[in-house]
C-alpha cells in the first residue's frame, strides 16, 4: 500500500516522464498537461517539498552559463526509493482497474 497523496503521485509520475529535464517550471507544465488543470504554481510546491523530504526525489544543481544571468537551475530526479514507489503505484492502479470496463454512459446497472 502506498502512502502518497494523489498530487504527490501525479508529481512523481511527471518527474519520471520528464527524465533529465525535470525542474520547477517543466514539472508544473507537465502536470498541467497531464491533468488538464491550470495549476496555480504554489499548489505543486508543498507536495514537491514533501516528496523531497521523504526522499522519493533528489535535487541536482546544474549551472547554466549565460542563461538567466548565470543562475543555476535545480533539476529533480527519482531516487531508487521513488522508483520503487512509482512501481508499487503502477501495480496497485493496474489491480484496481483490472476487469473494469467503464463506458461514459454506463450506469453500472443502477
Amino acid at each position: 500500500m502506498t502512502s502518497l497523496t494523489r498530487i504527490e503521485e501525479i508529481l512523481l509520475l511527471a518527474i519520471w516522464k520528464l527524465r533529465d529535464n525535470a525542474y520547477g517550471i517543466s514539472i508544473r507544465e507537465q502536470v498541467e498537461i497531464d491533468t488538464g488543470v491550470d495549476w496555480l504554481a504554489g499548489a505543486i510546491y508543498a507536495p514537491l517539498n514533501r516528496l523531497k523530504k521523504k526522499r522519493f526525489i533528489a535535487a541536482r544543481t546544474a549551472d547554466r552559463p549565460g542563461e538567466y544571468g548565470g543562475r543555476p537551475r535545480i533539476y529533480y530526479t527519482l531516487t531508487p526509493r521513488g522508483r520503487e514507489e512509482l512501481c508499487a503505484i503502477q501495480a496497485m492502479t493496474r489491480n484496481l482497474w483490472a476487469g473494469v470496463r467503464l463506458l461514459p454512459n454506463d450506469t453500472g446497472g443502477r
Partner: protein, 874 residues
C-alpha cells in the same frame, strides 16, 4: 525602495519553510510566470495573479511546517506528560506551587511596573523638571509667582515653563447641577504644551487664553452636561465667576502625579488677589521643560542666581526634580528615602523571594524524585540515549511544567485582578496586562523558573553511570540530602522573614491606630466652606448652637486633619540667634480648643470674648488671605497658642505672657497646648502656632452629640440648608480621614499577609513532598528499628525531629535578617513600636507548628507501619 523590502521578506520566509534548493525552484517558477503574465496581460493583472500565486504557495507550505512542528512538540509533550501522570501527587504539588508563586510574583511585578510607569506617558517626560525651593529649614515644591517667566527670560537652556496652582475645593454649578470639585488647577497656557494631556475638543493653543475659559475632563463634562456637548456652555464657580468651556480633555491617566478634573487659566487667579507679581508670593508650582536634560545643573545654578538677585535677604536654594522621579523619590525631605521607593524595593524583593521559594520547591521535589528517575536514566543510557538527549528531556520537562504553571498563573492573575486592584487601590485592567513587555516578562519568568528548577535533574541526573544505577549501587544519600536540606532551610527562612515582616507591619499599624492623637476625634465632622458660606460661618455657628444639640461648632483655616503651611523667622522675648524653628500655623475660630478637647498645659485657651484675641488681619492677608476683609484694625493684643513641641524648641519655661512676633505681627503667647497630631499620625509632631480669626475660617467643624448620629447629622443638614440654600451639604468624618491615613500601611499589611500565607503554603507543599518521599525511602530502616523494639511514637518523633530541626535552623538564620529589615522599615516612623521578641517567637511557633502538621500524616503513617511487610519488600 519598498519593492526590495518585500522581496527580502519573502526570501526570509521562504528559506524558513524549505531548503535552499526548493526555494530556488519556487522562486524561479514564480518569477517566470510573473514575467510571462506581464508580457501577456499587463502589469496590473500580473501583480494580481502573482499575489494569488504567492498565497497559494505559502499557504500549503506553512500548513506543512506547522504540522511538522506540532508533531515534534506533541512527542515531547507526550513523554513529559507520561512522566507527570506517573506521579500525580508530586506533579500537582509541583505545578500548583510554581503557579501560586508565579501568580504572586506577577502581581508584584505588575504593581512595581505600574508605580515605575508614573508620568512616562508625557512625550518629553525625561526633560521635564519641577523647580523646588529649599528655604532655610523647609523644602517646598511651591515657588515664587514670577519665577516661571523670569526663568524663560533669563535661562536659555529652558525651553518652556508652566506654572500650576491648586484652587482647592470649589463649587461648580451648571444649570440645576451643583457639586464640589476638589481637583481644580490653575495653569499657564504653556502647561498643555509641556505635558501630553490631549484635548478631545477645543484648541490647546487658545483654550486657556481667556481668563474665564475652562477645560474639563470627559468624566466631569458628563457629570454636568450628560450627553450634550459642553463646548461653549457656562459653568459658575463659587457662585460668582462664570466660565466658558473651551476644551474637553481626556481623563488624566491614573499613573500621573499631576491629577486634576478641570483647568482654569492662571491669569484668572488675579481676580482673587491671590497671585501677585511679587517674589514674596510663594504660591505656585513651577515646571520647566529643558532642551537637553543633561543641563539640569547649569539651569539650577542660573535659577539660584535669579533667587539671589530677587530675594536678597533670604534666597532659597533651587532644586530641579525630574518629573519621572517624583512618584517614587520625591516628597521626601532631603536626606530621607521616600516611602514609595522603599515599598517598591520591598515588593521587588518579595517578588523575587516568592519566585525563588517556588522554584526551590520545584528543584527540591525533583531532587527527591531523583533516585526514582535514576533507574530511568540508566535504562535510557543503556538503550543509547546520549547525555545531551537526557539534558534536553529534563529541561524540556521542567520547561513544560513551568509553561503549564505559567498558564495557570496567568489564569489566576486574570481571575484575581479585581481583588488585587481593590487591595492595592490600583486600576490595572486585563488590557493593561496585554503588552509586549509584560508578555515577554511573563515568558521570561517561566523560562527562568523552568531553567532554574530543571537544572538539578538535567545536569546531575544525566551524569549517572548506567552500570552503577542499574546494579543498584548508586546512593543518592548524603550529598543530595544536604542540598535538599539547604533548600528547605532557605525556603522556610524566606517564609520566616515575610512572616515577621507581616507581624511587625500589623503591630505598627495597630500602634498607630490606637495612638492617642491629642484630641477627641470621635463624632467630629467637618464641612468645607466655599464662596458665600465663608462669610456666613458665624451665622451658621450661632444657629447651630441655638437650634440643635450639637456639642460644639468651630472653624479652621487649614485642612482639619492635615495642616500644610509652615514658616520660619518667628521672634520672641529671650530668643537666642540660633533659635529659628520652622513653625506650622493656622487661623482658627476661638472655640477650636474646647470643641476639639485639646488640653492646655499652661496658660489659657483663646477667649471666646470677641474683642481680645484676634490676629492682625494684615498678617493673615499677607500669608494666606484669598479675599480682602473690610477694614479691620490691627489689634495689638494678638493671642498666640503654641504647642509643647514649639515650647521645647523655644527653650521651655515661662513662655506664657511673653511677647512673640510671628508672620511679621506682634502678639502675646497666651498658652501652651499639649501636643496633638495635626498631620498624619506617622509624622512627627512639629512646632505649631494657632491664632484666632473667624474671618479666615475655611472649614466648619462640628462635634455631634453621642447617641443617634444620623439624627444629629440630619439636624446639621437642616440648618446648613436653611443658611446656605445654594450650597450642597457635604461632610466628612475625622475618623474617615484617619482611616485613610493608614492606607499604605494597611495595604502593605494585607499584601504581606497574603505573601506570608503563600510563602508558608509553598514551603509546606515542598516539605510535604519531601516528607512523603523520605518516609518511603526509609521504610526498611524503620521496619528494622521496629523489629528491634522501637515504638511507633519513638519512630514518629525521630522522623519529626529530622524535619523540625531544619525549620528551627531556618528561624535561627532568618530572624536576624528579618530584624534588620524591620528595623529599617520602622526607622521611617517618628512614632513606632519597639521590636520585641514576640514577633520572632510567634513566627517560630507558627512555622514549627505548620511544619509539624504538614509532615504529621506521612510520619504517623510510616511510624505505624507493620515491619513484617516492609522489610521483605523486595
Amino acid at each position: 525602495m519598498p519593492d526590495r523590502k518585500v522581496v527580502f521578506a519573502r526570501k526570509g520566509l521562504l528559506s524558513l519553510l524549505v531548503d535552499a534548493e526548493m526555494a530556488s525552484t519556487i522562486r524561479e517558477d514564480l518569477e517566470f510566470q510573473r514575467s510571462a503574465d506581464r508580457q501577456e496581460k499587463g502589469p496590473l493583472i500580473a501583480a494580481l495573479r502573482h499575489a494569488v500565486r504567492l498565497a497559494a504557495t505559502f499557504g500549503p507550505l506553512i500548513v506543512d511546517a506547522i504540522r511538522g512542528g506540532l508533531f515534534m512538540i506533541h512527542n515531547s509533550i507526550k513523554m513529559a506528560s507520561r512522566n507527570l501522570a506517573k506521579s500525580k501527587g508530586f506533579s500537582f504539588i509541583n505545578i500548583s506551587g510554581l503557579a501560586l508563586g508565579m501568580a504572586a510574583c506577577l502581581f508584584l511585578v505588575l504593581w512595581v511596573q505600574d508605580e515605575r510607569s508614573y508620568d512616562f506617558f508625557h512625550k518629553n517626560a525625561v526633560a521635564i523638571f519641577r523647580v523646588d525651593a529649599n528655604w532655610e529649614t523647609v523644602r517646598s515644591s511651591l515657588t515664587p509667582y514670577p519665577l516661571g517667566p523670569a526663568i524663560e527670560k533669563d535661562v536659555p537652556e529652558v525651553r518652556t515653563t508652566a506654572r500650576q496652582a491648586s484652587l482647592g475645593t470649589v463649587v461648580l454649578r451648571a444649570g440645576e447641577k451643583t457639586f464640589y470639585e476638589s481637583f481644580a488647577q490653575a495653569v499657564d497656557p504653556s502647561f498643555l504644551r509641556i505635558f501630553s494631556f490631549p484635548l478631545l475638543q477645543g484648541n490647546p493653543e487658545s483654550a486657556l487664553s481667556q481668563p474665564h475659559s475652562l477645560i474639563l475632563t470627559e468624566t466631569l463634562a458628563r457629570k454636568y452636561f450628560g450627553r450634550e456637548s459642553p463646548m461653549g456652555k457656562t459653568l459658575t464657580m463659587d457662585g460668582q465667576f462664570d466660565f466658558t468651556i473651551a476644551g474637553i480633555m481626556k481623563d488624566v491617566p491614573a499613573n500621573s502625579t499631576i491629577q486634576y478634573d478641570l483647568l482654569v487659566p492662571l491669569e484668572f487667579m488675579r481676580e482673587f488677589g491671590w497671585y501677585i507679581d511679587r517674589w514674596e508670593s510663594v504660591n505656585v508650582t513651577t515646571w520647566a521643560e529643558l532642551g537637553d536634560r543633561g543641563q539640569a545643573e547649569a539651569v539650577r545654578t542660573k535659577i539660584s542666581e535669579l533667587f539671589r538677585t530677587q530675594l536678597p535677604s533670604s534666597p532659597p536654594e533651587p532644586e530641579l526634580v525630574a518629573l519621572t522621579s517624583i512618584n517614587l523619590h520625591a516628597s521626601a525631605q532631603p536626606g530621607q528615602t521616600s516611602q514609595k521607593i522603599q515599598t517598591v524595593y520591598l515588593f521587588s524583593g518579595l517578588a523575587v523571594a516568592i519566585l525563588l521559594v517556588a522554584c526551590i520547591n520545584f528543584m527540591n521535589l525533583s531532587t527527591a524524585r531523583s533516585s526514582k528517575r535514576a533507574l530511568e536514566v540508566g535504562l535510557r543510557k543503556v538503550v543509547g540515549a546520549s547525555r545531551r538527549n537526557l539534558i534536553g528531556q529534563f529541561y524540556g520537562e521542567s520547561l513544560l511544567v513551568a509553561g503549564i504553571a505559567l498558564l495557570l498563573a496567568l489564569g489566576l492573575v486574570l481571575v484575581l485582578l479585581p481583588s488585587f486592584n481593590a487591595l492595592a487601590v490600583k486600576s490595572l485592567t486585563v488590557r493593561s496586562l496585554i503588552r509586549i513587555e509584560y508578555l515577554l516578562a511573563f515568558l521570561g519568568v517561566a523560562f527562568v523558573a523552568g531553567l532554574l528548577s530543571g537544572s538539578y535533574p538535567a545536569l546531575y541526573l544525566s551524569s549517572f553511570q548506567p552500570v552503577r544505577v542499574l546494579k543498584g549501587t548508586l546512593r543518592t544519600g548524603a550529598k543530595s540530602g544536604l542540598v535538599r536540606k539547604a533548600l528547605i532551610v532557605t525556603q522556610f527562612g524566606l517564609a520566616v522573614i515575610v512572616l515577621v515582616g507581616t507581624l511587625v507591619v500589623l503591630k505598627q499599624l495597630n500602634y498607630l491606630r490606637s495612638k492617642n492623637i491629642g484630641y477627641d476625634k470621635d463624632q467630629l465632622i467637618y464641612v468645607s466652606l466655599q464662596g458665600e458660606t465663608r462669610n456666613g460661618f458665624n451665622v451658621f455657628r450661632e444657629r447651630m448652637i441655638r437650634e440643635t444639640k450639637v456639642s460644639g461648632v468651630t472653624g479652621i483655616f487649614q485642612k482639619p486633619t492635615m495642616f500644610g503651611s509652615r514658616v520660619s523667622g518667628a521672634d520672641w522675648e529671650g530668643r537666642t540667634p540660633e533659635q529659628n524653628p520652622s513653625i506650622f500655623y493656622s487661623a482658627v475660630d476661638p472655640h477650636y480648643i474646647e470643641t476639639m478637647k485639646i488640653e492646655i498645659v499652661q496658660g489659657r485657651p483663646f477667649s471666646a470674648d470677641l474683642s481680645g484675641d484676634f490676629a492682625d488681619e494684615a498678617l493673615i492677608n499677607r500669608s494666606m488671605a484669598r479675599t480682602v476683609p473690610d477694614g479691620y484694625v490691627a489689634n495689638p493684643a494678638n493671642a498666640f497658642l503654641i504647642n509643647e513641641e514649639l515650647s521645647r524648641q523655644m527653650g521651655g519655661k515661662d513662655l506664657v505672657g511673653k511677647r512673640m512676633k510671628f508672620l511679621g505681627t506682634d502678639g502675646v503667647i497666651v498658652g501652651v497646648m499639649k501636643d496633638f497630631h495635626f498631620q498624619t499620625v506617622q509624622k512627627k509632631i512639629e512646632p505649631l502656632v494657632l491664632f484666632t480669626s473667624p474671618k479666615h475660617v475655611r472649614f466648619a467643624i462640628v462635634r455631634l452629640p453621642e447617641g443617634n448620629i444620623s439624627a444629629s447629622l440630619a439636624a446639621v443638614r437642616t440648618i446648613w440648608e436653611l443658611v446656605f440654600p445654594n450650597y450642597p451639604f457635604e461632610y466628612r468624618f475625622y475618623d474617615e480621614d484617619f482611616g485613610r491615613m493608614f492606607l499604605s500601611e494597611r495595604q502593605m499589611g494585607t499584601l504581606l499577609q497574603w505573601a506570608a500565607v503563600l510563602a508558608i503554603t509553598i514551603a509546606c507543599l515542598g516539605l510535604f513532598g519531601l516528607a512523603s518521599f523520605l518516609a518511603e525511602q526509609r521504610t526498611r530502616e524503620i521496619g528494622i528499628r521496629k523489629t528491634l523494639g522501637a515504638t511507633s511514637a519513638g519512630v514518629a518523633l525521630m522522623l519529626a525531629k529530622e524535619f523540625l530541626r531544619w525549620v528551627f535552623l531556618a528561624n535561627l538564620i532568618a530572624s536576624p535578617i528579618a530584624y534588620i529589615i524591620s528595623e529599617r522599615w520602622l526607622r521611617g516612623y517618628a512614632y513606632r513600636i519597639s521590636l520585641g521578641g514576640s514577633a520572632f517567637v510567634l513566627a517560630l511557633t507558627l512555622t514549627l507548628g505548620v511544619a509539624l502538621l504538614t509532615i504529621s500524616r506521612q510520619t504517623l503513617k510510616t511510624a505505624r507501619i507493620n515491619p513484617a511487610r516492609c522489610i521483605k519488600y523486595e
